[in-house]
Structure formats: C-alpha cells, structure tokens
C-alpha cells in the first residue's frame, strides 16, 4: 500500500494538486458556439424516410426504462418498458404483464436502470438480446431484439445496489451482478455498526442459455463488504477473467462521502471465473436458502409467469483465495474497462489525478510469481507496480469510464472537468480533449467495450444541462452529445435531450437487428387461454362475480360492443385479441373509470385488463390508437346494473346486439 504519512509527502501532494489545478484551468471548456465546426449538420442529417445506420440502446436511469435511438440522427425511436410500469401500453398493468415485476418483496413497479449490454458472440455484439440491470431492487432483465420486449427478469438474492451489472462474458456465457451496497444475508438483521463483521459483498454469475437466452443464477461469490462498483469481462488473452472495481475498502457504513474516501488506493478485483465455474462443477458450491423471483414472458401465451426460487450455490470467501485477486487502484475506482485486445485494463479512480492502465500479462505473471503486496481480508493483493502498464498523467478531473476505438485509442470521460479525453493505450500519451455539456458520466463508442469497436462516433451522456436547452422549470432534461472521432481531433456533431438519466448505452449496426424485427404475431400461434381466433368466438361468460369478456378487435370495431348484465361488485376481465394480421396495426383499449391503464394490443396478441365497476350506469370503452379512418367509431357500451340486480348477461355487435331485431 502506498500511503502518504509524512509531511514532506503531504506537501508534495499539495503542490502536485495545485499544478494540476493550474493545468486544468488551461483546458477550460470552450463555449458551445466555438465548439461546433462546419459540416456537423451534414454528418448527422438523415433524410426523411431514410434509416439511421445504428441502433443505440440508452439506459433511462431512474425512469426504469430503456430508450432506443437511431444514430447519427439521434432520433428517439422507442422507449422500452423494463422495470417500471408503462401506462402507454399497459406494461405492468395488464394481467399478463403483472408477473414480470414480481419480486421476493411482491410487486415492485419501479427500478433504476443503469447499464446496458448487447449479447455477444466471440466478443462481438450479435444483436440477439439486451441485458439491463435494476439497481434498486436487484434485478437483471433481458430484452428480446426481435420484438423489443422485456422477456425475462431475474431477481438477485443477498444483494443490494446492483450496480456492477449486467456486464457479460465474450460469448454471453454469464451476466454478472455485484452488490454496490454490501449487506448481510437477506432477512438477517444486525446492528449497522457491526458492518465489518456481518456484512458481505456478493457477486452473482447468471448463466445464459446460448439458444433461448434464459437466465439462471449459476453461482454467487461471497466477498468482503466492499462496494463493487463496475465491471467488465476480459477478452482475448484475458478471456476467462472478470474485473470489478471497488470502493469503500475502508468498510465505512456512515458518511461514506468522507469515510469511504480515506485510503489512497482501493482495488480492482480480478476474478478467474473459469476457475470458479470449475469449482462449482466439482460440487464445491454451498447451497444457500434464499428467495428470489424469476419472471419469464411467453410469446405464445402472450403472458408472463413468475416463479420464486429458493436456492443458490455459493462459493465463500475462504474458497476464493485462488480465484479473486485484488489490484490496488488509486482513489475509489469507478469504471474498469478492458481494451479490445484484452491486454489492458483501465481503472478510473473517481478522485484520482492520474489514470492507471494495468497489463493482463503482468497480472498473470505476478500471480504466478506470487508477487504480492500483503493481504486484504485473506485475499492476495497484487503489487501495484508489478501489474501496472503505466499511468496517463494529468488526464483531467474525475475520470469515470473508458471506451475504445479500432485504432488503439481510448476515450475517457471526466465528470469534474466535464470532458472527453482521447489517449493512446500503448503510449499513454494524450491526443485530444473536448468539452461536454455538462458533467459527463458514461460514454459509448459503437462496440467500444467489445473486441471490434468501430471508431466513428463517441457519445457522451451528461448529468447537467443548465443553459443548453429552453428551460422547463426546476426539473431539466439530461442530455447526450455525439462526437465524430474518425479523425485525429474529436468533433462535436450533435447535442440532444434524453429520457430519465442516461447511464451506459450500447450502439450496434442497424443491419444486425433491423432485418430480424418481428412485424406481427400469427393468430394461429396464439395460445392464450382467453384468446379468440375469430369474431364468432367472442362472448361474455359469468363465473360467480367474475365476468370474462372475450373481445376481438379489428378495423374498425370491437366485438362485442354492447354488453349488459355487469353488476357493481363484479370483477370483470376484458380479454382483448387483436385479430389484425398486418404490420403496424395495434389497437388500444381503455374503459372509463378503470384504475389501471390502457392496453395496447399488437396484431395477433391477447391482453387482459381487469376492471372493477363501482358505479351503476353506462360505461363506454374505446380503441385509443388511431387505427383507421373509422377509429373514432371503434367504441362500445357496457350497462352496469346495481349490485344484486337481475339483468341477464347479454352481448353482441351490430345485428346481434341485444334488443329488438330489425
């Protein structure tokens, strides 16, 4: 450990700090006016009707959703509901989608979505699925890129603050999830001040089925109570390893701002996951009794199911001495990013005045030679100098994340000095720097954390917008900036607002996704128990105080559109099947007084809205999505009779509507 204990060193540090401040003042961000050069507009102009070259999946942060943009135009294509309810399409409100948000705590309709990973094959994005993390109630979700739908959510037991997630291995063998907030095992309470003794950090390895994508917690690593912040898989030579940044090696449990920032160096933890996997296969995992939800969407029944699982395999700290190694890294490292070759690992110490780059070859050698610098909680600590490739000097203030291009360059975001700095990974020389507006967090180069980045753009995701857009009261939008990085100098092209708070994103060539995009569901494949395959099957069935309405929708009518015999106190289920078999013809469904949301039903799909009629009278319902020239006519009435009345169930449409025949 390097520690500054004497006054000489303190003085040195102070003078170094001052030098840094002066040098940083020299590169004060320029004003927006001077930052945009000619030709920027042309580079982002995608003519009306033309497609963008790239899809960008951008985290919505505390909105709990995922935004899909087209680049380079930065047009917002869609907001995908993941962890938060979405009244726009009934996600988290419809009977079918409710189980997606089930957890061991019951229904949790919100989360804080930070990081995004597109599934990989051979270290390159394959465009099959997107994985995202829920930070608050620890969960990992999988979105299918054929349908752009959340198809699976798995909860993580014995975890809190699921931040170093959902980073994936080169062939999507595993998605990892590490605790940012160490906690004791679920359901066990201790005095908080016994943190050091009773709290633990855990890292979950979630196995992914290579064909179906189905997730399953393969094993958990039980570790000292550090705050595991971010992570990235090794690749190439470092294949089989995973790197996690940590902070709070001080093991503080209060006023972390100060108490977790005391040590000069925290750690990047290198995990030999192949070895951990082999131990699990050899039966060395300990079964732990837990409770966590595993929720899956079925595309044939158009319904989710939720299962509570009760067991997890754990490797305890004493078993992991030859699996996990700690590398000292200056000042509370945040991003831990592996370059495309897999040889270099960049640690971004949030409070550090330099940027260390570690060499995997040296890490391997240090482990072989037992070149250790003592222990931390029984784990070997590698000697900083032995594993260091070198340091980028005076890079900026507050380094957070690094992405890479295909020419051997790295792009690091600096929150405090609000800039992106381009530097050469081998020579560690700074090549260029550009301001961001303002206080960049994550940044993304298309494929920038994979084996094959395309060094055309870098996107900055910012925390503060202040004077960038027209003001919208106290709450302002957050933003992103697109830069051209094809030349030596980075060039600002575009500045645009985002949804929620954008953290990480992944950007992938459109060709890998667009042609697989599903257009509609085949009605003959619909296995929903309450589906109707044609209009003649529509009906209303009473079962005690439960009423099931089997309703169809096709341009431009709902069937049945006259329903009588519903009573106050009933529990009414509207099972809506969209009979259309064509692209872009969804129908919506809303009913007056429903305390849920609308449904938006895709062609060939069935969705259910539950409704409690509370007042006798006539209740209209209608299609909310302007589907056709006669959309306004796509509506109907329900007669709600008082509780206990004898109105019989009657229903119909057109000539079959209840009443005297014409």
């Amino acid at each position: 450990m390097i520690k500054f204990k004497n006054k000489t060193k303190q003085a040195l540090l102070l003078s170094f700090g001052l030098t840094l401040i002066t040098s940083v003042t020299g590169c004060k961000p320029k004003t927006a006016g001077s930052a945009v050069t000619a030709g920027a507009a042309e580079k982002v102009y995608v003519a009306p009707g033309k497609y963008d070259d790239l899809y960008a999946f951008v985290s919505g942060g505390f909105s709990g959703q995922l935004a899909v943009y087209g680049f380079p135009s930065a047009r917002l294509l869609k907001v995908l509901p993941v962890f938060s309810q979405n009244p726009e399409n009934g996600y988290g409100y419809s009977e079918e989608t409710l189980p997606m948000l089930n957890t061991s705590h019951g229904f949790v309709p919100y989360d804080d979505l930070h990081h995004v990973q597109v599934s990989q094959t051979d270290g390159v994005m394959d465009g099959r699925w997107v994985f995202v993390n829920g930070n608050n109630t620890p969960r990992v979700a999988r979105i299918d890129l054929k349908t752009f739908k959340t198809v699976e959510i798995i909860e993580l037991p014995n975890s809190a603050g699921n931040h170093s997630s959902p980073f994936i291995t080169e062939n999507t063998e595993y998605v990892v999830a590490g605790t940012r907030f160490s906690v004791p095992d679920d359901g066990v309470e201790y005095p908080i001040h016994t943190y050091k003794d009773n709290f633990k950090g855990t890292i979950s390895f979630i196995g992914v089925d290579p064909k179906s994508g189905e997730m399953d917690i393969s094993f958990q690593l039980e570790l000292p109570p550090l705050n595991f912040d971010l992570s990235h898989s090794g690749k190439g030579p470092s294949s089989g390893w995973f790197f996690f940044s940590t902070y709070n090696t001080e093991k503080a449990y209060t006023l972390l701002e100060v108490n977790a920032s005391q040590r000069d160096k925290d750690f990047i933890m290198a995990v030999n996951w192949k070895k951990a996997e082999a131990m699990i296969k050899a039966g060395k995992g300990k079964k732990k009794s837990v409770r966590y939800a595993h929720n899956q969407w079925n595309e044939e029944t158009h319904s989710a199911s939720s299962t509570i699982k009760t067991e997890v395999l754990t490797l305890t700290a004493d078993q992991l001495r030859e699996v996990c190694y700690f590398m000292p890294c200056p000042k509370s490292p945040h991003g831990t990013d592996v370059d495309p070759s897999g040889e270099y690992i960049v640690g971004s110490g949030k409070l550090a005045a330099l940027l260390p780059v570690f060499s995997f070859a040296k890490i391997k050698k240090a482990i072989e030679n037992k070149d250790f610098d003592g222990e931390y909680d029984g784990f070997h600590v590698l000697k900083y100098e032995s594993v260091l490739h070198g340091e980028v000097e005076k890079p900026g203030l507050g380094p957070l994340h690094t992405e890479f291009d295909d020419k051997g360059n790295a792009y690091t975001s600096f929150f405090v000095s609000s800039e992106i700095v381009k530097w050469n990974v081998k020579t560690l020389q700074i090549i260029d720097r550009v301001p961001t507006y303002y206080s960049i967090g994550h940044l993304t180069v298309p494929g920038g954390d994979t084996r094959k980045p395309t060094g055309k753009y870098v996107v900055a995701y910012n925390k503060i917008t202040k004077d960038r857009y027209l003001p919208t009261g106290p709450e302002l939008t957050q933003s992103a900036q697109l830069y051209d990085i094809s030349g030596e100098k980075m060039q600002l092209l575009l500045d645009f607002p985002t949804i929620g708070e954008p953290h990480y994103s992944q950007i992938i060539p459109a060709s890998k996704i667009a042609e697989n995009s599903k257009k509609f569901y085949k009605i003959e494949d619909n296995k929903h128990p309450y589906a109707v395959k044609k209009e003649s099957e529509t009906r209303v069935v009473r079962d005690g105080n439960k009423v099931h309405v089997y309703m169809s929708m096709i341009r431009s009518h709902l069937s049945p559109d006259n329903i009588e015999g519903i009573k106050v106190g009933d529990e009414v289920y509207f099972h809506l099947t969209n009979l259309e078999q064509d692209w872009d013809v969804p129908h919506g469904f809303a009913i007056k007084g429903a305390q849920t949301a609308e449904l938006l039903i895709m062609p060939g799909e069935t969705q259910t809205l539950k409704w409690y009629p509370k007042l006798a009278g006539i209740t209209p319902f209608y299609c909310t999505d302007f589907c056709s020239a006669l959309h306004q006519e796509m509506s109907g009435y329900i007669r709600v009779s008082p509780a206990g009345s004898n109105t019989p169930i009657q229903f119909g449409t057109g000539e079959n509507a209840p009443g005297p025949k014409k």
Binding site: I554, R555, S556, E580, Q581, D582, W583, S628, A629, L630, E633
Partner: protein, 198 residues
C-alpha cells in the same frame, strides 16, 4: 425441299414454335397470370394480389379487410367458377399446341391458333366483367360512400381509387400468353404467305 412439303402441312419452324407455345401454355397453369399492385399512404410497402388460373394469392386477406370500408365484396376463390375450369381449359389448349406441332396439319394449327386467341380475348372480357362487378356492386350501408365513385380496377395500367393507387399488369403467365398470342399471329401470317408461294 419446299416443293416436297405437302401444302396441307406446316413448316418446321411453325412446328417447333407450336410445340414450344403449347408447353409454355401448359406451364401457365402453374404460374401467376395477372397481378394487381396497390399502394397507399398507409401501405408504403405496397399490397399485391396475384391471380393464378386456379387461385388468388398475395395480400388477399389484408385487401379483404379493407374492402368493407367502401362496401366492396370480399374476394374468395370459391366464388369464381373460373378457378375450377381454367386450369383444364388452359391445359387442353396447351396440349393442342403440342399436338399441332406433332401432326403438322395445317388446318389443325389454324384451328388451334384461333381457339387460343379467342380464349385469350374472352378471358380478358371475363376478367373485366368481374372487376366491373366488384367495383360497382357496393354495399349500400358501407361506411365510406363517395357520390359517383366506383372502384373498378384497371384491366391493365394504373388507376387512382381514393387513397389507393391500383396498378394492374400481366404476371409471368400473362406475359407468356401475350407472347404466345403474338407468335401465333405472326406464324399464321407466315403460313398464309408461304402457301401462296408454294
């Protein structure tokens, strides 16, 4: 050589082409004959319907779904007696062409060529009658009623029908029929001219 050929026989060229035309006509039984392409602001990708000798294919269901707005009857293969008869008629006419080439009889060739041409014209007339009926016999309770508007698709070429542009053209089978018609007409003149010279 020509003097040796009996005046009641057709030339070798006519024989070969008759057989080729006959085989091609038989192929038409399995090929789309006509196609109608539709496009509208709501369907930038376009809708298309292909007419075979025995069926309709393409986006028939989608087109049927839209027909009810203007009160046009939905299209069902069962409504057309033609789909039962046409494959046989076309097959037999094709077979006659092959026979005409084999037996070389001049009278047979001319009879066959005439039957084919008459058949082709009658088919087009029949097609037009269907189109006219579909375009004119509209449900009086249809939601969209434009005074004076009818929806007969073009027999061939382009026509704007409300928001839909309808483009009607022969498909591969149709082009074969047209080519056969042209070849037979030319051969007919050729044979008449040839007889005068003999």
């Amino acid at each position: 050589m020509q003097n040796l050929i009996k005046s009641s026989s057709i030339s070798t060229l006519t024989r070969i082409l008759s057989i080729l035309c006959g085989v091609s006509i038989i192929a038409v039984v399995f090929l789309p004959i006509w196609r109608i392409e539709l496009d509208a602001p709501q369907y930038p990708e376009g809708l298309s319907m292909q007419i075979f000798s025995n069926k309709l294919s393409g986006d028939v269901e989608i087109i049927n779904g839209l027909n009810h707005y203007i009160g046009m009857r939905t299209l069902h293969a069962d409504d057309f007696i033609e789909f039962t008869v046409l494959p046989y008629v076309i097959g037999i006419i094709g077979l006659f062409g092959v026979i005409a080439g084999i037996i070389r009889k001049r009278w047979f060739f001319f009879t066959w060529a005439t039957i084919f041409l008459v058949f082709a014209v009658l088919t087009m007339i029949d097609f037009y009658i269907w189109e006219y009926n579909y375009g004119h016999n509209l449900d009086p309770t249809a939601p969209i009623q434009v005074p004076g508007m009818t929806y007969t698709p073009p027999l061939i070429g382009f026509k704007q029908l409300l928001n839909f542009g309808a483009f009607s053209i022969p498909d591969i089978g149709g082009w074969i029929m047209i080519a056969v018609g042209a070849i037979l007409t030319t051969l007919g003149f050729y044979e008449i001219k040839r007889k005068k010279h003999v």
